[in-house]
Every structure is written in structure tokens, then in C-alpha cells.
Symmetry: D3
């Protein structure tokens, strides 16, 4: 089975940087996959790709060696099974707030005897290879989102879920659930403490901690805390900000 490059990097103690796709286009997906990322994540929750878009975007990503991840819209075995059969090598599941939810998520990603995923890896077989079934349970990354104070309260129980590979912190939702406002890179002490705690408990449980960040500085801070998987902005947001920054200068006609 084709190697999961993200797992290989983690095994070597390295850090994985993922692109984040909210624009439902295989064209921008392929361009993003040629940037210096290790992985590319299609966001089916807050991004606008539906299943048909996701299929063609996964194919576009597969023109490179970036690990293809999908954030599914919800903890639902139907869509989890479909994106895995479409060739995702990692699944990010939103709003995992209890150990039971985490167990349901992980089992949706695993074949018997570790879970209840049904066998039929149509494009996954093309992408992963003919020995996909034999190796999928060891290759596919399960990544549960901690993005609510309820999940935080159940952190150790969630992290004890057999077969859970990684955590993805949603700092914006987490801050909201703690009474703050949303946005990239929250700086309230209680949120920072929570993010720090997640990293520590992940390390204690042998689970990889990941997080979504919006700036170089915050990314460095997360790196220092031990985060080994970082999503940096998104295609949509990066483009929005790039033009918002550039147009006043263009209108003003500043010279170089």
C-alpha cells in the first residue's frame, strides 16, 4: 500500500504542514498541492466542497505526494466511509466531545475487527494499491477535533480511544465555547492554557496534536508547545487577505 507520508514524518519526529481547501475547485486544489505542504486537507464542513468536488480534488492532490486529508461535515459513518473510499488518507472529524463519539468516529474509519467500515475502496484501491484492505487500518489517520470545552473536559477519555492517531484543535470554536469570540490565533489565557494542556495530554497518550493557525508567529508558538500538525490559513482566506492588502496600494499607485 502506498505510504502515508504524514505518518512517516511523524514517526521521524517531524512536523506536518497541511494546506486547507475551502474553495471547491480541483484547479486551485492542484496548485495548492504544489506548494510546500506535506498534506492537503479538503474542508467539507465549513468549506464548500461537496462529495463530487471532493472526489475530483482528491484526484488533483494525488498528482503530488501530499497526504490527502478530508475534514468531514460531521461524525457520520456514511460520509466518512465515502471519503475514505475516495482515497483520503486521513479523516478529520469535527466536534468530538466525548469518548463515545470518538470511538464511533474511529470505528467508522477502521475495518473489522477494529471497526465497522464496509469494504469497497473503489478509488482508494487505485490510489493505495491492491493491498489496501490489508494495510488500511495501519495507514489511515484518524484525527478527532477538540474544539469545545466539553471535549476538553473529556480529554483523557477521548485520548484513550484505541485507534485514535491524532487530535486537531479548532481554536476558534474552542474559544467560543469558553465565552470568547471566534477567529484565528486566540490569545486569551484560558484558551492558550487549554491548547497547551491538549498538547501535553496528547504527548502523554501517544497521540499526535494538531491545530489550525493563521500566522507565522502563532504557528511557532504551537510548534514550541509540541504541535506536529498545522493547517495554515485556507485558500479562501489567503486569497481574500492578499487582495484586501494589495488593492489599496494598487489604487494609491505606490511605486516600488
Amino acid at each position: 500500500m502506498r505510504e502515508n507520508k504524514t505518518k512517516t514524518i511523524w514517526a521521524a519526529g517531524g512536523e506536518v504542514l497541511t494546506g486547507w481547501l475551502a474553495i471547491p475547485s480541483s484547479l486551485s486544489a492542484e496548485m495548492m498541492a504544489q506548494q510546500d505542504f506535506d498534506a492537503i486537507t479538503i474542508d467539507m464542513q465549513h468549506g464548500c466542497a461537496d462529495y463530487a468536488d471532493t472526489l475530483s480534488m482528491l484526484q488533483a492532490i494525488s498528482t503530488t505526494d501530499r497526504t490527502p486529508f478530508v475534514r468531514v461535515p460531521w461524525n457520520d459513518p456514511a460520509i466518512i466511509g465515502r471519503v475514505l473510499d475516495a482515497g483520503a488518507y486521513g479523516v478529520i472529524c469535527p466536534m468530538v466531545n466525548t469518548a463515545d463519539e470518538c470511538k464511533a468516529f474511529v470505528e467508522a474509519c477502521r475495518y473489522f475487527p477494529l471497526g465497522g467500515r464496509s469494504v469497497g475502496p473503489i478509488r482508494a484501491g487505485l490510489y493505495g494499491g491492491s493491498d489496501y484492505f490489508a494495510n488500511a487500518n495501519d495507514t489511515i489517520i484518524t484525527m478527532a477535533m477538540i474544539e469545545h470545552k466539553d471535549g476538553l473536559a473529556n480529554l483523557d477519555a477521548i485520548l484513550s480511544t484505541p485507534g485514535l492517531n491524532a487530535i486537531f484543535v479548532g481554536p476558534s470554536d474552542l474559544a467560543v465555547s469558553m465565552g470568547h469570540t471566534p477567529g484565528f490565533d486566540p490569545k486569551w489565557d484560558d484558551v492558550i492554557d487549554a491548547i497547551q494542556l491538549i498538547a501535553e495530554r496528547c504527548e502523554a497518550h501517544g497521540v499526535i496534536p494538531g491545530i489550525h493557525v493563521g500566522s507565522v508567529e502563532y504557528g511557532q508558538k504551537m510548534r514550541d508547545m509540541g504541535y506536529k500538525f498545522q493547517a495554515f490559513q485556507s485558500d479562501f482566506r489567503m486569497l481574500q487577505v492578499a487582495y484586501a492588502n494589495a488593492l489599496p496600494a494598487f489604487r494609491a499607485g505606490k511605486s516600488s
Copy 2:
């Protein structure tokens, strides 16, 4: 009929700045249309939108007051008619190298007696209003591309075409046709001279000169030459460059 804001700006001596859409997505189109542009151009030639994408992108643009332009793939009355019926208020036609080609292009955009456009403005009627037919010939902008030395050689004849509103210079193709390499913002003297000449002849003929630029500095230079319509980069290129610039810093972890 709904006003053509770009014509209004030009009538007041102002400059029109257009966004340029190569990514075939109505989501990014709507976000681009909320940036500080006056117009938004869907590029069906080198961009990846087909007709169905273009239709939904025109609708997305129409949530704002930006003037919707389409660059058609070729000087072909079939696609020109279709994008006009879909609600484009300006058409940019590639590779207009002779007066005959220019005449054919303009006539494809105009109703009788000024041209041969067939009547049936299905979405154009929704967008423009019930008096669309009566006013379309005066409202729709025809913009021919000068992007080849052959077009340059026939410049005055092209500019004399009745009903031609504007010229759009393709500096990259123009430079290539003069023996140089492609890219934004060519700086060879002969190309600069040609671009200058086009602006001057446009002014002499009462035709608006437009151009595609890649930087603030070049844009200012074009403004100084008299260009009144500028496309600045494209969504695809801006996103590509933004990540290419940002990722080394992110990897390096520079602090603020």
C-alpha cells in the same frame, strides 16, 4: 436598463480596476467581487471556467455592483452571444489582429442595425431589466485585445471600428509576438513603446485603453500612460504567490 458602472466611471474620466477570475468557482468569484474592484472579469480563455461555471459566477458577481466582464475563448459569435445572454456587460475578445476581425467581434455584440446578435437575453433580461433590448447596444462594452504585433500593425484600422469601446492589451502575448518571453509587466523598450503607442492611438480615436498588469508599479506606469482599465493579477496567481511567499516563513517559524 441597469447602468453599466464602468461606462459611468469612464464618462467621468475615472479609472476602472477589474478582478480577474481564472478559478472556476462561484464562491471565490463572490469573494473577489466584494474586494475593492469596479469590475470583475471571468476569463474563459486561459482561465478554467466553462459556460456553466460562467453562468453561476456571473450570478455571484451580480450580488454586488461590480460590472461583469467575460473574456471569451475566441472571436466566435456563438460564445459571445451566450455570455451576453448570461448577463455579461462587457466582452473581452482575444487576438484581434485586423479590422475585419474587430468588426466581426463588435457586430457579434450588437443588435440590429449595428450587428447580428440574436435577441433572447434570458438572464441578461433579469440582470439588465425589461428594457434590455432597447439599451443594450449603448450599454454593453466591446473590448478587443491587442496582443500581437499584427494587431499593432493594424492598430488604427482596428481602432476605427464603429462600436468599439475599448482595447485590452495583453502585454505577455504582445511581448512574445515581438520575440520576447511571456510574463506580467514586460519591460523591453519595444514593448513599452508599443504599449505607449496603443494608449496614444486609443486617445486619438476615442477608444478606452485597458491592460493586464501584475504589480503596483507597473499599474502606476500604465496609469501615467493613460490606461483607464486595468486587470490586476488573477485569483489563481495571487493565491499561488501568496502561499509561495508565506510558506518559507512559516516553515522557518520567524516571530513577528
Copy 3:
């Protein structure tokens, strides 16, 4: 945040009339939105729009000031979150038969602390504005369907759900659950009594009553009962009936 025009009309005691879209086309959606409706509802349950269609149809509706509603296929937080992030200002949820189901529905539409909606309003931010998060809980309309005798039996409990704005009666399904046949505008006494009761209990609870009707006469009857939100036919049904009525005359060649 952009005003929810439907809420404004209700606040002034007025009636809201919604178009109903079953045809999955952004073209017909835009045309319908130009008719004299106050709102436009995309029906993802019995209509044929999937998520990608819905996204482009929401954009088409947003070229006007009609309030965009979506009837989701089911009481499922995944699709509720996705249509809200796509810019729906109202969500109609089918088959709400218990207070628990109603609570789950409302919480899927509300941000913390009123619910569990995850933050990431990608197109909703474009449509609603940059202050979307701060105002969404007060702006988004939650509308639960009473369309089964079980829901009727639990009416007061359902109407007591905090954050529930409105009820949408499905008269056809309601009649079926009471042993009758389906169709627009049921006239059995027990169904009429139920519809009357819903309007009365809504008024008692400060919840807006809405309903789907098929004729002017029935609409007037509902208006008299106090219904403040009415869907009138659907694009699909209106077109079907229009041709069914017109063709015999055309075949017969009646003169005017």
C-alpha cells in the same frame, strides 16, 4: 449584519410570502427571486437541489433582497450547518415530532451558548457581513415543521423550545398522518381544526405560524387564521400546471 427582511416584516405584523424551489437551477432561482416574494426557499428535501446546487441558488437569490431559506432534507446538524454557512437566513426542518427533536434542530442553528453550531460562516460572512458571528443567533430564523399527528400531540412542548422562531405546517403530510390522502390544501375538518389549533398555539407561544398552500383561496383562509408565512405552490408544480392548462387550448386553437 445584513438585515433579515423576513424578521423585519414579522416584527411589523406583516405577512411573508415565499417562493419554493424544487427545480435545481440557479437560473430559475434568480427569476423566481425577481417575482413579488419576500423570501425564497430552496427545498432540499422533496426538491432536487443538492448542496452544490443550493450554493449557487443561494447566490442567485442574493442578487435580490429576498430572504433565503433552505428546507433541509432532515434534522441533521451536518447539512444544517452547511446551508447556514452557505448563507441561508432561515432553515426549515422537516418532521419535528417531539420537543427533543425541536431542541436538537434549534441548537444546530445556534452558536454557543445557545447551541452547538460550529463557527466558519464562509459564504454567510460574505452575505451577512463581517459581524455575522455576533448577530447570527438573533438573525437566523429557525422554523420547525409540524407535519405529523405526533408533532401535533407534542405541540405545546415543541412550541416551548427556546430559540424556536416559527412553525411551518406541512398540510399534505399532516393529512396523511391523520388517515387522509396527500395534496395541497386539505379540506377535511380534522385537518382544518389541527391547522387552526397550530395557529392559535403559535400565537400563545409567540411563535410565527407558517404553512404551504396551493391556491389563493386557501391562502386567504390561512391568512385569516393568523398564518404569517406562506409558501405558494412551487416552481415545478406551477410550471407543470401552467402547461397542462395551456396545451389543450393550444391544440384546440381557441382564439382570444
Copy 4:
């Protein structure tokens, strides 16, 4: 090869009524095909269906025995070949103004030795049958549009084109080319005379005359003139008018 029902009706002296599809949806297409039409025409010129839509709409129409027609965007052998290979049994070609244009159109629809159509009827073989090639030249209907005074001037030459089966009058464009305004059912004397003349010359040449009409009365007038193929309104226009007519009454609450 499957019978062309329209040809059969014509052979028996009967009249063919066609539905007209401007909305790019296979759902509304299938519903329209269940109405009492003899044929269904997909309008790729002023309607919004692109090729992919057309393919699925042709399949939807093929669930019934209605003859599938396509109006192509332009007199272009590429799209003519594609819609024929997709199973169209009739092609309507816009703006045929000269005999040469008519000859080019007809030859694009005919296999050797009558024309230059390339062989590869992929879906046409599914729809027409395995003997498609042997019978296509006799089965496929070629219908040229007379919709300009130039075409009128060349009428007899156009009607003399070998292999031309029918004419389709575009009364709106024709009126425009004669100095009038567009719209259904023009009533200016010179236009009426032209329409009458076309019917007469068609009969003289053994070519079937067809026309697009907007009302029962005008349809009867055309029938009286000898028109044997009539398109009645369009899905888009019928729906638009139906709601425009119905909503004031609904708002006013007239009783039955």
C-alpha cells in the same frame, strides 16, 4: 432505427408541437416531456443548457416518445456533431441567411455521401439503435432558422438546399431585422407578410415550415398559414408569467 415520430406526423399531414427548454435541468426537462407535446427542443442558443446539461436532458426526454430536438448555439459542425451523437433527432440552426450557410448546416448533419458528419454516434446508437448509421441521413431532421431579412431575401435559394427538411422562423429576430422591436407574436404587416411568404415558399419547395409562438391565437394564425411545427413559449417564460399573474391575486387574497 427508432422512428422519428415528428417525421411520421408530418408524413401524415399532421402538426407537431414542441416544448422549449431554456432552464438547464433534466428534472424540468422530464416533466415537460410528459406534457402533451410531440417534440421537445433544448435551446442551447438563448437557453442556458451547455453540452453536459443537454446530454442529461436528452436522456430525460428519452424516457418518453417525444422527438428530441436541439437548437445549437451557432452554425458550427463541432456542436452539431456533438448533439447528434448525443441523440438529437432534429437540429435547429440559428441565423441561416444564405444558401451556402444552409448547405454547410445540412452537410454537418449528414453522413457521407450527403455531408461530412463524422461517424461515432455514441449515445445516438443507444437511442436510435444499432442500425443508426444506415438510417440516420433519412431520419435526422435538419431545420434552418429564417430570422433575418437577409435570410428572407435568399429564401428560395435556402429552400433549395438538398437535404433540408424544415424551416424554423424566429419571428422576434426577424421583426428586429425589419426595424421593429423583439417579442413573441409580432403583428406588423410586413412581418406577417414575411411569415406568410415563408410558409408559401416552404410548401412550394416541399420543406416543412415551423415557427415559435407565444399565444393560442397566434398559433392558430400560423396553423392557418400552413405551419406544421410550432414551439409554444418556453419553460422559463411560462413559469415567469405564471407567477407574475398569480402573485397579485395571492397578495390580494381573492376568494374563489
Copy 5:
């Protein structure tokens, strides 16, 4: 209501053969429907069709008299309702492991009083006819998948579900749940025994047994066991194998 041909064949003691569609294309769907099958199943679980594809594929199948089935991605009333409204005459539900799951599945397919399906058969009404509601409960086939040893353990309880018409064995998943490897046509004794048992218990309960097979020989074995519904390979797998078998010979240039 249009006859369900599969039910008719079963009533006469006959066997139903279904095509299996994993490729999301209405073109290949129509071609498959012209093969000598009795039914055609669109696989939305392991195949790649999403809802929009399924709609157009159902239309393509409806150009023939093959019974249209859909395997839904999961036991979820939202998607079950949508594919029924789109015209599916049979629903295959994956991973039915308990009687409660089976009951939920069947009720999602049945109108009141047999279940909770909401009324609004938009395309189903076009396909089935205007008396769809009155006859749907008797016409639509419910087919639960037994594909796990847990389902096997609850076999009699599942088969006792009122309104369940048929069982579809997933031999590959079933074998996996019994500790074997996946693939067509498992030959381990315990799996064979289980498949035999299912056929026997189905007969005892008056439920039709069905199964997915990969070869003529295995199909015969299943026929001998009493299986009355067989899916043979899939479009995707058949094409893959056909080229895999043909290309070595082509490369080698064997003569006939």
C-alpha cells in the same frame, strides 16, 4: 402506478439480475441499462455517484424498463427519502445488523401508516404515475443487507420485520466480519454455510434472498441455493478486468 417489474418476476418465481453502477455517469448508466439485466442498481455507498449523479442516472435508466435500485450510503432517512423521491423502485440498505435497524430502514421507505416517509414524490410521480402515493407502499422494494456476523446472529429477528421484501448479502464484508479477507465469491466453508443459511431463513420468512457475485460459477451456486436477485460484478470492475485481460494480448500481438 408503473409496475415494479422485479416484483412481477419474483411473483412468478423468477430470478432478477441487476447491473451495478459504480461509475458516476449517466452515459454508462444508459448503456448498462440496455444490457440484458432486469434491474439496475446505482451504488451510492462504495460507488462514486452523489445525489445529483444519481438523479440523472435514474433518468437514464428510465429510458428502459429495468427496475431502478439505489444502494444508499447508510441507513439514513434523509438519503432514503431523496432517492425514493427521485424515482428509485428499490432501496438497498447497507449493514443492517439488528431488527431495530431493519425496522428503521423499512419505515423510512414506507408512507403512513407503515412508516414515516414524507410525501413529495417529485420525480417518482413522473416515473411512477399520478397514483404513486396510493401504491408506493406495495410497489417499492425494501432490501436490507446482511453483511456482518452481527446481522447473521440477528437473522430471524431481522427477517421478521414487517414490510421487509428482500435481503441482499454482501459476501465480501460478511467474510471479513468472520475473519477472512474481502473479495468476490468467498469460498470458506463458514461463509458458504452462512450464505446458505440466509437463503433458507429467507425462504422460511417469505423474504427474497439476494446477493452480489463475481462469476458465472458462483452465480449458479447461489441460484441453486435459492437466491432470486443477483448483482453481477460492477461497471467499474468489469471494465478494469476487461482491459487488464486484453492488454497483454494486445502488446504481444497474438493473432486470431
Copy 6:
């Protein structure tokens, strides 16, 4: 620039085998690209892929090292430019019957000074690399179809076109133009002679001869004649034949 593997094989005297895609699906495209082909051709003429399908199919093919070809619908610079910008490394142009047509085709594929292709290789730059412009004229394969006796009559003139790399014989259309019936692998003497002649003249002009075949035996015959590029059947036809052959046996229940 990424190597054109087909050119490399030809340079070494080898034979290139291409898959042929008529089904408009990126899923089947990716599976076909994993078969033992050297190239994969998307057929936009008689196959059913439109531009949007072609873009995603090119991406699917690019997950492998197969050379991506597109057969365009017609000799039209608009679509030729678009498929090249989408990353096609070879273009097959139908019905090239004269030297002028061949020159127009080749020039549409070549940048200045060899042709008039406009510069803007959006996905081609992703696929080919940043030095795409500098190397495209030497890398892209131009392949004109000889498929009519008129083309045969002008064979030497066509083969003399500067920049023409290869010929693709359409044996079915060629046979038709010579008075025979269409189909794979024509065996009439005059057609065989013509095919032989084309191979010989190609060799004389240093142009690669290619052809579409339907069987191993015919392929060997073409190989013996010197054909260095062969398309073998198509996905659509292979699937159609595979089931047509398999189902009678399945129905009959032959044992192994």
C-alpha cells in the same frame, strides 16, 4: 518541462498504446490510466466529455505518467488552446482534409513564431513546469486525423506541414468516405491499401503514423505496417462488449 513520454518512446523507435475515454468520468479515467497504456486520450468529439469533465479527467490521468492526449471536437483554435492550457500533451484533430486545415491546426498548437497560440498555460504550467513556454513547441504533439478520402488525396501536402508530428487514421470514417460502412477494423482492400499508403508516406515524411483499432489481430497488422501509435477500443465499447459477452453465460449458469 516534464518529459513527453510518448515522444521519448517514439524517439527510441517504440510503439505507443493509448487508452480511449468516451465516458465522461474522472473515476474511470484514473482507472484506465492505471492500465498498461503509454498514453490516455480523452475523446471530446464522439465521446461525451465536455471541457469541465476534460479538466478533471486530465488531472486524474496526471496521477500516473501516461501521456495525456485530447481529441478535440473540431479544428477550432478556441478549444485547442483550452485543452492545451489544461495540460494536454498531445492534440488529435479530426477531419484534416487539406494542407491549409493542417497548417491552421498546427499553428493553433504552437507559440510564436511557429503559430498563434496565446500564452496562459494555467494548468499546463502546473503539469509541465515553470519552463513550459520555453519548451512547449518542442514537447506538445500535433496529430492530424486522416479519415476521409479528401485527406487521402492531399496526403503528401498535409504531411509536409511544418510542425506536424503525427497522423491518426480514423479507419471507420475513412471507409465510409470510400463508400463502405463504419466500424472498427475495416477489411476492404481499398481501405487497407489506403491505410498502408498512409503509413508509407508518413515514414517518408518523418511523421509518426497512428490509428484506432478494435482487435489484437488488426493491431498486429497495423504494427506490421509501421503504425507507432494505436488506440485500442474505448472504455465505453469495451464495457459494452464485456457485459454483452458475459450475460448470456451468466443467465445460462455455465459452470467453470
